[in-house]
């Protein structure tokens, strides 16, 4: 563990995990920077366009509206609220460690609470009002699309990849990844918050872990001693820490791609809620993301989802 994980002695002198080390945070920041810079340089060296590609709109516009709804207002509110809380969480978590001191704990747990609320909202919203499973699931086609995309990135001789549906494979992969990492951070974060003072409860160094010297009762109702009290706490801190540093990289990558000029349409989509027809046709496969009428054109895993069509201004209106 040495370098990346810190250990401490519990009050009984036993070595238990304490959390991730500062080095791991620095490593994550370094990796994030390396990734962004590396990607930029490499992208440039491969001669990919630095600008958003456009298509000739005359190609086929039948039934395609000029503005195509990509994210409804509730979705966007969710996204930005979540993003803001995530940024606050990361800043309050790591900036003090870099040396800028401020009272971060309260801000951190409040931001965490906001994040949890937005996620609850998001889950309910996506299950009830969106086609949750189509977004979440992935199939052979997605993999094929991803492989093609990846080949094209690596080799210029490789054919142009298929265009994606509404949610490209990499986006969904990212989403799945961030779900896992965020949930890890959230679950451990909630456990950690129980250890500090909030208006809702008294702090408890031990709760809710079975992590104290007297670990509980056996079936006879006799006290059972914990063989290594403090170990579970350490594990929680390690998971939270690993999730935290992973989020540094993931969030950095996310922001980077969001503001890359060649992918600007995604950013616009998330800011304005819609992309224009040209962007749609240039970057998406209308077969996979149909916006022609109110029906879902293709079964999953294509990526066409309800909210994009339900609320889209109809071309035949």
């Amino acid at each position: 563990m040495g370098r990346w994980l810190d250990v401490e002695l519990n009050p009984w002198g036993q070595e238990v995990l304490q959390g991730v080390s500062l080095e791991l945070m620095y490593l994550a920041i370094l990796l994030a920077v390396l990734f962004v810079v590396g990607h930029m340089l490499w992208y440039r060296s491969r001669g990919f366009s630095e600008h958003e590609e456009t298509v000739d709109v005359q190609e086929s516009v039948a039934g395609i509206p000029e503005r195509i709804v990509r994210h409804t207002l509730p979705s966007r509110i969710f996204h930005w609220t979540m993003g803001a809380s995530m940024l606050v969480l990361l800043i309050t978590a790591f900036v003090p460690l870099l040396g800028l001191e401020f009272a971060w704990v309260t801000i951190h747990w409040i931001a965490g609470a906001v994040l949890i609320l937005t996620i609850i909202y998001h889950v309910i919203h996506s299950i009830v009002w969106q086609d949750f499973w189509s977004m979440m699931s992935m199939g052979a086609k997605d993999v094929r699309e991803a492989v093609g995309h990846f080949r094209h990135l690596l080799s210029s001789k490789s054919p142009e990849p298929e265009k994606p549906g509404k949610y490209p494979f990499d986006h969904r992969m990212y989403h799945q990844g961030i779900v896992v990492v965020s949930l890890a951070a959230i679950v451990t974060g909630v456990l950690m918050t129980l250890r500090i003072k909030t208006p809702f409860w008294e702090p408890n160094a031990y709760y809710p872990f079975v992590d104290q010297a007297v670990a509980g009762m056996n079936e006879m109702g006799e006290p059972v001693i914990s063989l290594m009290p403090g170990a579970a706490t350490g594990l929680v801190f390690v998971i939270h820490g690993i999730a935290g540093v992973a989020l540094i990289i993931m969030v950095a990558a996310h922001i980077y791609f969001a503001i890359r000029p060649d992918k600007r349409y995604y950013l616009w989509g998330m800011i304005r809620g819609w992309i224009d027809r040209e962007q749609y046709l240039a970057h998406f496969d209308p077969d996979k993301w149909s916006v022609v009428d109110g029906s879902i054109q293709e079964s999953p895993p294509g990526g066409a989802i309800a909210d994009s069509t339900v609320s889209a201004p109809r071309a035949d209106d």
Partner: protein, 332 residues
Amino acid sequence: MAIIRDMIPAFELFQPTTVEDALALMAEHGEAGWVLAGGLDSYDWFKDRIKRPEAVIDLGGIDELNGISDGQDGLEIGAMTTLTEIVRHERVRSEYMLLADAAEHVATPQIRNQGTLGGNISQDTRCWYYRSGWACYRAGGNTCYAAAPQAMNREHAITGTSRCVAVNPSDTAPALVALDAKMTVRGRRSSSVYDAEDFFIGPATDITRMTILEAGDLLTQIDIPSEWANAHFYYEKVRDRGSWDFQLVSVAAAFKTSGNTIEDARIAVNGIAPFPVRLDAVERLVIGAAVDEALAVEAGEIAIDGSRPLKHNEYKQPMTSNLVRRAVRSVA
């Protein structure tokens, strides 16, 4: 690794004679260095082998850090001035009795002979969980053992906590806050002056430190501005026994009065938070008011607004209230 206490591990001792040399040594040794004033906090840590500096920089030989002199505005006290010297100093006694009074409440005559003002206000907390070497938040770990529901925390904080619930142990700290003292902190390249109030920091800001001092910083001088000279002072410290004991709660107050009307006031309490707490709300209440029992009672009540006791220290609420009440009452 087995734990052993009460045996000071070897360290390299440096005895600079100038502040510049001390700062250079501090910079050279960084985190492995330790600044030694009177040693009353330091040697406890060393003895327990919990803090294990490689290099100890003893300030005892730096003349410029020693002594009390008349400044342009008030008194200038070198950080290494002993508490005994402060207690006995004529001008401190005649004009700033609050400080002499507070200094005289420190521990024992022997400790006051050895302990310095700078050391007294920079000392680490005496939370017994932390001082036992437990890997708590303050020690860089991830637990506050003292805040656990069954924890032994009669001496811990009722306010100003953030994960850590330890209290500032200094007797002179609240007096310096009440006197609006200015702390000169020198680093290698710069020198800053802080209000006493800002010199002490809470765990919300940095859970591992009690003061603004970071590695490489040296508290060199404490100025007592003339603003509060000859004010009406009140100091009281409640402790378990009459000597060699840290406060349960202490109050230091300075009042400018006209008759029994308070024209200006600065009141600080220690022992209830990780830092000496300036009671702004109480000051606002009493400034401009004529002192009577009702005012004193109200001041006491306001003093503990927002405080929240732990399992074993609820008594600190009435104790704080009562001390503040007495401070205000003393004006009448």
